[in-house]
Amino acid sequence: MADIVLDKVTKSYPDGTIAVHGIDLEIADGEFIILVGPSGCGKSTTLNMIAGLEDITTGELRIGGERVNDKAPKDRDIAMVFQSYALYPNMTVRDNMGFPLKLAKLPKAEIDKKVGEAAKVLELTDYLDRKPANLSGGQRQRVAMGRAIVRNPKAFLMDEPLSNLDAKLRVQMRTQVSRLQKQLGTTTVYVTHDQTEAMTLGDRVVVMRAGHIQQVGDPQTLYDKPVNLFVAGFIGSPSMNFLPATVFPGGLHTPIGDLPIPVKDNAPKDLVLGIRPEHFEDARLVEEALRPRGFEFTLPVDLVESMGSDKYVYFTVEGGKSDLASADLADLAADAGGADLPDQSGLVTRLSAESRVREGADARIWLNLDKIHLFDPSDGRNLTLD
């Protein structure tokens, strides 16, 4: 077990593209850290550099205090779980799990013992003599995990290990991975593009974009205090709503009305307003005491999705889309492929289940002004944080 330190680590390719721009990251011993971001953000490259499967162009990588830039993967004593599981098809489950130990030239009795133990933990004892082809997806995934844990390495690296499972199994395995990591206490670096996985699994989450780290922090901090538009939009489901806003002496002009909030003098004139769906409420259900701290507006309801515990209510906002121009938003839209992200002319709100709003009718909506975020569209910076 060991800590992992990335010191200004850069990855560039001969053709000049830079996949990772001098990132600094300190991963504590025993920590479960998640690298998350849209595809092409450099998270897998970072993982491969830690693994030793890709060269580090500049910078330094230290595992347990020792510089390992030039060490071959086999000399770094770290295990990896692959998205495709990478099980050796010609070997049984037993041989797959015992393979790293065999390469380390452990005596056979010890290999059998360790494989047996790992199989018990992962409930694979009955399948030890099967070939990977005869296993279900979940079982294969567990064999891949087993192969990583048998050798008790300094660290685990996991490259989207759950993304080949169906949705239900993925949730189950998520809990199992989390429990296993706590039990073993091994430093773990986990790569995913799924923000839900990132939020539920990690001690800390690293949000990456285009080879840069955007923000590092525990899941709640990322959610509550995103440093920029990108993180704000990437973390959370449904995503944060973004609306154009213009500063005027008494507050902010927005498509849903003029918000009476003070804006700092040094802020630019045009801003992006960010509001999470749960910070809206059906105005009729808001307690009197809270009412003055919010802002109320009326809009016709497009669509109501009842989730049982609460309701997702969708609105269309006039003039919401065209004024929003920001690199961060463009990246988010590209990542979501337009599907996951709220249509920027639309507004997603999460209201109490008791709300009586109906499709087609106007609804009176209350917005919690304490929870709004303001972003500088030029660089995406969150202005409400300072």
Binding site: D55, I56, T57, T58, N69, D70, K71, A72, P73
Partner: protein, 311 residues
């Protein structure tokens, strides 16, 4: 002071230097390829250059004393010679006709092998027989089949003639033998292309009202185009080398010599290294030009052009 100097130098060095793993990978790559590369180059590049050198000399093994450097005299001799042009024409004729037939028959065979409902294994197995069989063996089979008296085909088709002794019929038989031998190979290459045609695409086309023929022409052929071009390139260049069939069937009699046969005759029967080498170089150039035209015309369709850059 020293620290200030030290830092940039270190950074610069690690930028250029590859990690040990990377260097090891390179070294291993070269090491693994070296034997194959050396053998291939040593046995082809050196002899073809040597051949060019020989082609500039008067060099007849029957008169070794007459060896002399004559520049391009041999080329003038060969290119001014009717036999060469006859062989050249025969080679082109055989190539064009056999490749065209092979393409059509091969496409049919590919469709049968790919889509047949029954006995797919049997069809594929029997189609492989012509591919695998020794060309000389097949050629003998054809020769005896067309030998008057002995052959079932000769007695059946040409009861009162000797087809192998007349130029036109002999060439036809040579072409038939070529087609029989290599159509399966063509079909296999085309079948690889057929496998790339998505089944859903064909279903969609028939839902859109396309007939079987329209589906073939409008949907399958465009998807198969790269495979067809690869098959054509390989077979054309292979057909230009035609030797075995002619050697056994007519041995070049009655003006049925191909360029390969005439080059071989000059060397082994005429023992004329100078002229033989000149023909070798000319054949090499012909093939190079045709290959070049193919690759230029069809660009990326050339095998290996697309996917080899990456792993």
């Amino acid at each position: 002071m020293t620290a200030v100097v030290e830092k940039p130098r270190k950074a610069a060095r690690s930028k250029v230097a590859l990690s040990e793993g990377k260097r090891q990978e390179r070294r291993l790559g070269w090491l693994l390829c070296a034997p194959a590369a050396i053998v291939m180059v040593a046995v082809t590049a050196y002899p073809i250059l040597y051949s060019f050198w020989l082609s500039l000399q008067r060099y007849d093994l029957k008169f070794p004393g007459d060896r002399e450097f004559v520049w391009f005299d041999n080329y003038i001799t060969v290119l001014g010679n009717g036999y060469w042009w006859s062989a050249f024409g025969v080679t082109m004729l055989i190539t064009v006709i056999s490749v065209v037939f092979e393409l059509v028959l091969g496409m049919g065979l590919a469709l049968i092998m790919h889509r047949t409902l029954i006995g797919r294994g049997l069809v594929r197995t029997s189609a492989l027989i012509p591919y695998g069989i020794v060309t000389v063996v097949a050629a003998f089979s054809w020769r005896y089949a067309w030998t008057p008296g002995t052959g079932y085909l000769a007695n059946l088709v040409t009861p009162d003639g000797a087809p192998l002794t007349e130029r036109a019929s002999a060439l036809a038989i040579i072409i038939v033998a070529e087609i029989w031998k290599t159509t399966p190979f063509m079909a296999l290459l085309l079948m690889a292309g057929l496998a790339l045609v998505p089944e859903d695409l064909l279903k969609a086309a028939s839902m859109d009202g396309a007939s079987a023929w329209q589906r073939f022409v409008r949907v399958m052929l465009p998807v198969m185009k790269p495979a067809i071009l690869v098959a054509l390139l390989f077979r054309t260049l292979d057909a230009l080398r035609v030797f075995d069939n002619i050697y056994v069937l007519t041995n070049g009699a009655n003006d049925t010599r191909s360029v390969s046969i005439i080059a071989y005759d000059n060397l082994m029967k005429g023992l004329n290294l100078g002229i033989g080498s000149t023909m070798s170089v000319l054949i090499f150039l012909t093939v190079a030009i045709i290959a070049f035209i193919f690759v230029k015309l069809f660009g990326t369709a050339a095998p290996g052009a697309g996917d080899e850059g990456k792993r």
